[in-house]
Subunit: 139 residues, 2 copies
DNA sequence: CTTGACGTTTACGTTAACGTCAACCACCAT
DNA sequence: ATGGTGGTTGACGTTAACGTAAACGTCAAG
């Protein structure tokens, strides 16, 4: 697609390709209210803003979040522009919850990674033993 | 339930409660071949082995893995007892893939956490400004 | 002895997150 | 004017991961 004074813009197909999803997915997210690209006539026009939003969404998916949870968060990010004190306090509280959750997941991942590398290590030593006994002539 | 020479054992209900899932889930996992508790007559008997397996499974779920992916891994863990060289090499290769994936997720999480805490920080400063202008009399 | 709390299987229902298909329009190249 | 490429809106299909309900067994308490 072309570029405008607003920076680069994308069509559905282009953005879907770049993000590794289908056009169906992008339209679905729009129907679910996760993104709302402008239109040029009938056609959807995605700007950098929609693009980063989508990246956030896909990252959330990689973490195993549901679209409902993701929607809650992106809505909150949008609300961050608000300057009403009450809004900001709600947002801040939610952000702290999310951060705590992320930290827990982070620790969880560390444990799992340690376990996996441990099993892999056992594998390697076992394989070393095997090759040693299989060729005793080599020493 | 009682304890035997094999250590603690659980009934479906007990274990489901402890793990925060329903009995339906445990039976479903069994039907899918993810666990295979012994029987005392008709009733299922879960030992420590099944318990740790289930914890692994649920951890995988928290990471957004499908049951199919999880099954592959737990099968591999079981196969780790094997002493056939070919098996061990396959297992090791898969473990390295998994470790790489976990490291990527780990980095991903770090980025996300950084972003979240950053937004939270902006929130806090904005709130501080608000309370400052709202009460100019306090200095 | 029946009531209630636990267990069992079988079977159908449900929800999320898309995939797939049909039927259509717009434009460009041959 | 025909075909190819890429866009549009429905509408229905699909899969994973259970939920829910029916219909039954079992055992201890009242």
């Amino acid at each position: 697609m072309t570029t405008t004074r607003e920076g680069r813009v994308w069509t559905v197909g282009e953005l879907a390709d770049e993000l590794g999803v289908t056009t169906r997915t992008l339209r679905f997210y729009e129907a679910e209210g996760l993104i709302s690209p402008r239109r040029a006539g009938m056609q959807r026009v995605y700007g950098p803003r929609e693009r980063t939003r989508l990246k956030l969404i896909l990252r959330g998916k990689r973490f195993g979040m549901t679209l409902a949870e993701i929607r809650e968060i992106v809505d909150i990010y949008d609300g961050a522009a608000s300057s009403e004190q009450r809004q900001l306090e709600k947002l801040l509280a939610r952000l702290d919850e999310i951060a705590a959750d992320l930290r827990a997941r982070h620790a969880d991942l560390r444990r799992t990674l340690a376990e996996v590398t441990d099993v892999a290590e056992q594998c390697r030593t076992r394989l070393a033993e095997l090759s040693a006994t299989a060729r005793p002539d080599l020493q």
